[in-house]
C-alpha cells in the first residue's frame, strides 16, 4: 500500500528525519508514536503526497509520489482517507455536506441512505445540519473520520485523532478505527498518547513505530 524507502525530509533547515524505511501491508494496523515535534505529522504528509521527500522514495499504491503531478496526487488521495490533526472543514457548509465533500469533488453521487448510515456510525445524526464551527472537539474529530472513510478508501491515515477529546471519546474513535481495520482497511494512527496504544493492543494486532532521534524504530511489546 504505502512504502517508504530510505526517506529523508527537511523543511529547509536540518533534516527532520533520515533513512526512514517502512512498509504498510494491506490490512495491517500501525501506530506511529514519538515526542511532539518528532515529525509524525510530516511523515504522514509524505505518505499521502502532500509533501515530497527530500531524499529516498515514497511509493503510494506502487507509484513514486515524486513523479506525480498535483492532479494525480488529488486522484490518489481519493483512495487514502486522511484524518487531519487540525480537522479542516468548509465552515460555511453543513456537516453532512462537508462529510460528503470527497464524493462531490470526485463527481460521484452518494446515496442519502449511505450518508445517513455513516452519520449514524460516527454518532452525528443530530448534528448533520449544523455548521462545523458549532461542533465540539470530539464531534469534529468524528466528522473528520467520517469524511475520511466516505470514499471507502484502502488506507486510513489518522493524525492525532484523539488529540483534544476526553478518554471516553478517544475510546469510541479508536473502536471506529479498529472496526475499519476489521473490514480490511490498512490503518496508520499517529499519536503521542501511549494510553491509547495500550488500549488498542488488547483489541487488535497492532505494530508500533516510534519516531525518535531522526530514526524510526519498531517498539517492543512492553510499552
Amino acid at each position: 500500500m504505502i512504502e517508504l524507502d530510505e526517506v529523508a525530509y527537511s523543511y529547509g533547515g536540518g533534516e527532520l528525519f533520515s533513512s526512514v524505511s517502512l512498509s504498510l501491508a494491506p490490512g495491517t494496523f500501525h501506530f506511529l508514536t514519538g515526542p511532539s515535534g518528532a515529525g509524525k505529522t510530516t511523515l504522514l504528509k509524505l505518505c499521502y503526497g502532500e509533501l515530497k521527500a527530500t531524499a529516498g522514495q515514497v511509493r503510494l499504491f506502487g507509484q513514486d509520489t515524486r513523479d506525480l503531478a498535483r492532479d494525480e496526487v488529488a486522484q490518489l488521495r481519493r483512495r487514502v482517507g486522511v484524518v487531519h490533526q487540525d480537522c479542516q472543514f468548509l465552515d460555511h457548509l453543513p456537516v453532512a455536506e462537508n462529510i460528503a465533500m470527497p464524493l462531490t469533488v470526485s463527481g460521484r453521487e452518494g446515496t442519502p441512505e449511505d450518508l445517513e448510515a455513516l452519520l449514524g456510525w460516527v454518532g452525528l445524526r443530530c448534528q448533520a445540519g449544523q455548521l462545523p464551527p458549532e461542533l465540539s472537539g470530539g464531534e469534529r474529530q468524528r466528522a473528520a473520520l467520517a469524511r475520511a472513510v466516505i470514499m471507502s478508501p484502502d488506507v486510513i491515515l489518522a493524525d492525532e485523532p484523539t488529540g483534544n477529546v476526553d478518554w471516553d471519546m478517544s475510546q469510541r474513535l479508536l473502536t471506529l478505527l479498529i472496526e475499519l481495520n476489521r473490514m480490511g482497511k490498512t490503518v496508520l494512527i499517529a499519536t503521542h498518547d501511549l494510553g491509547l496504544i495500550r488500549a488498542a493492543k488488547s483489541q487488535v494486532e497492532a505494530r508500533v513505530l516510534r519516531l525518535k532521534d531522526r530514526r524510526i524504530q519498531a517498539a517492543g511489546a512492553n510499552l
Binding site: R77, Q88, L93
Partner: protein, 300 residues
Amino acid sequence: MEMLRRMLALLAGDPQADRAVPPTGFTARLTLMSAAAMALLAVFALAMSLATGRLADRWSEELARTSTLRISAPADQMQGQTVAAVELLRTTPGVAEARPLTAEEQRALLEPWFGPDLPVETLPIPQLIEIIEEGDGYDPAGLRARLQAEVPGAILDDHGRWREPLVQAAGRLRLLAWVSMGLIALTTAAMITLAANAALSANAQVIRVMRLVGARDVYIARAFVRRFTLRALIGATAGTVLGMLAVLALPSTDVAGGFLTGLGFQGWHWLLPLTIPPLAALVSFFATRQAALRSLGEQS
C-alpha cells in the same frame, strides 16, 4: 467548438461545486459593476463606429458620384454653349460621362420649391450638365480655365470635393471607435482578473480543504469561473440594456438633410449590441480561468 461546449456546460452548472466556494460580496459587486459599465461604454463605441461608418460611406459615395456644370446664358446662346461644354468635357481626362439634364429632370429638381406645373422651358433657368468622374477624377483648376475660355456661361460646381477631408475624418473616428472597443474588452479582462485573484486569495483556506479531500485544479477553478462568468453576463446585460436605451433616447439628427446621420442604430444594426453580453461572458470565462489555474499552480 469544444471550448464553447464546455462553457455552456459550465453555465448550465454544477451547483455543488458552486457551494464549495463561499460567496464574496466585494468581488461580486466589483465584477457586476465593471461589466455593466464596460458594456455601456461598448454600446456607445459600437454606435459611434456604425454612425461614422455610415457617414464615411455616404460622403464618399457623393464624392465619387458626380459634380455638376451649370450654364447660365441668354436663351439664344444656351443650346450652343451646352453643346460646346459637353464636347469639351468629353475630351477632358478623368471625365467618364457628361450629360445635360433633360427638361423633365430639371423640373423634378425644382419641384420641391415651385410645385409640379412649372413651365421650365419658358424660364431663364440655367442648364445643368451632370459629370460622372472616372479614376482619380479631373483637375478642377485646369477644367475651369478651359471652360472660361470656351464656354463663358459655365460654372463648375464640384461641391463633393471639400468633403474629402471629412470622409477621412469619419474614417479615423471609426477606427478610434474600434480601438475603444478593443480597449474596453482588455480593461474588462483586467478588472475581472483582479477580482478573480482577490476572490482566490480570500479563499485560500477553502482551496486547501478542497485539495485535501481530493479536488483537482479544474474542479476548484470551475467553481470560480462559473461564478465570475455569470456575474459578467448579468452585469453586461444590464449595461447593454441601459446603453441601448440611452442610444434610443438620442435626438434624431436626420433633420439636417441627410448630411449628418443619426447617431443611433439603424435597422438590423440594433441586433449588434446584443452580442456584447455573450462577449463579456466569454472574456470573463477566459480571464477567470487563466487567473484561477495560474493561482492554483502557485498555491501548490
